[in-house]
Amino acid sequence: MAKLIEEIEAQIAGAKTTAKQNVGVIREVGDGVAKIDGLSDAMLNEMIDLGHGVTGLALNLDATEVGVVVLGDYTQLKQGDEVRTTGKVLQVPVGKGLLGRVVNVLGEPVDGKGPIKYDKTYPVEKTAPGIIRRRSVDQPVQTGIMAIDAMIPIGRGQRELIIGDRATGKTTICIDTIISQARLNKAAETAGDKGYRQLYCIYVAIGQKESTIARFIAALEAAGAMPYTIIVAATASESAANQYLVPFAGAAMGEWFMDNGMDALIVYDDLSKQAVAYRQVSLLLKRPSGREAFPGDVFYLHSRLLERAARVGEKYGNGSLTAMPIIETQAGDVSAYIPTNVISITDGQIFLETDLFYQGQRPAINVGISVSRVGSAAQLKAMKQVAGHLKGELAQFRELAAFAQFGSDLDAKTQAQIDRGKRIMEIFKQGQYNPIPVEVQVLVIWTAQNGYLDQVPVARVKEFQNKLTEYFTTRKGELLARIGKEKAISDVLKADLKAAADEFKQTWK
């Protein structure tokens, strides 16, 4: 009986409503922004209860008014409505329960698969891990894209920018990477490999068409990648505030994996649209505008977001959050305001070119100006052995090929370099949603570097590559497994590879 009385007393205490509340009145509302008189206790980024089940986010705190962006249907709100502070900053649910789901900026499901199970929430705005907590990048992210894994390797915890004009395959690279992670995760699960650190993926769609997102979901589902992926979407039909906040919501979900000793990859598709949404919100809030009408803190917008990607030390869980932001350029202009900002923040960039795309070089990566500043430390030793000089060789090839355009006679050595370059460019062509395992990548590059492709006509290089892959996968599987296991090409392995490649060469017609 005493316990029952205690319980009732506790409930009554919880139901007390005399606590002080801070209220305000809507002075004006429109375009997803509300100006509120009062709310003297409002905090920056605090959630404001606007009534009618609509929430707002306090972004401007002035002496006499508070500027709030509305995260919902602002048409229900009207002048004179009473609003109140909640004492909470914007938070989203986090955890493994979100895997395989499509959610909105508030972490609410939009895929019709029912409610999401979660027991923890994270604030969307969170300070990035500090210097002490971080450690350098030393584990690879296998994207499954040969040109990237060989020449622009990405490490876990890195921030690698994907930049290019519209329709050059920026998103495809990211989707391929997600599919590749799912395959690796699944393979490790099947093999019972407990040493493999699974990499979970978060795809943040900012201001994209709903049909495009539906297509990506279908591609990920077809590849069996959805169980390892979270999709956070603020589509083109949603308010600018949602589009500005959605990358932060995605980052919070990714941080949970990092904080719990797991690895995650987050794709922001794309930050140009986020910057435009932020400009819209800032202009509506009457914040002073700067270059290209962007507010003065647009650099900070991206830097604070991307700084949240990190590899933390073993003492702090050994987790990581890898970021792949996407930036869309206009007519290849990488010197515009937002592209230069993001280039300077990230640890490297993969530059995609329209010309290469239409020449049939897909993925259309311009190897010359694409870099990875920290990823080489994480690259597989076997890949480093075969692809170490590839970037330089291709640079030489481009130079020589440009020179050869004048039709002058070339010496045998130069001609051989050009021929080798053409074949290497050919092997880097890859179909979409078809990531290649790293062992196969090492094998193909090894054969190219060891002259096995030199006698193959350029037009048939791809055919040779496919047959070679098929031959090794079906007949010499143990050699591929050894590459993956040993992670380096020893002299013994080299001899075995040579014997197998010679055997294949004899059958090739």
Binding site: A15, T17, K20, G38, T64
Partner: protein, 130 residues
């Protein structure tokens, strides 16, 4: 009406001139308005509009509205008034109002601060918790 930054600045200056020892001086406010009207400047309406807003906000900040379902007894009114003056300082105007929909209890609003101890608020909180 579009109120320019200059007009806002000038209105704020006028408002500050009307504040004496942290409280708005009604006489000064009464003097300011005809003076501004007399100048007949182009910004005059917008300055006065913003000035009015600042005065309204000040009034709201120094007004305590005490609502209850039934009229409060005089002794309770005195207690509430004393407590509020103690908490918010002198110069606080108290307004007592009747609101039957509160069912019971009291709701006090001083500027942006609301102390809602009404039965209605309790029921709403209970409904939200389910």
């Amino acid at each position: 009406m579009k109120i320019t930054k200059q007009a806002k600045r000038e209105a704020k200056q006028l408002y500050r001139l009307c504040v004496v020892k942290g409280l708005l001086d009604e006489n000064r406010v009464r003097q300011v308005v005809p003076r501004v009207v007399a100048t007949g400047g182009r910004d005059c309406p917008s300055i006065l509009a913003h000035f009015l807003r600042l005065v309204k906000l000040d009034c709201a900040e120094h007004t305590a509205t005490i609502e209850s379902a039934t009229p409060l007894p005089a002794d309770l009114q005195t207690v509430v008034q004393t407590e509020l003056t103690h908490r918010y300082g002198p110069g606080l105007t108290t307004v007592f109002a009747q609101r039957p929909e509160l069912i019971g209890g009291m709701r006090i609003q001083v500027g942006c601060d609301v102390y809602d101890g009404s039965v209605r608020a309790g029921l709403e909180a209970l409904a939200k918790s389910f």
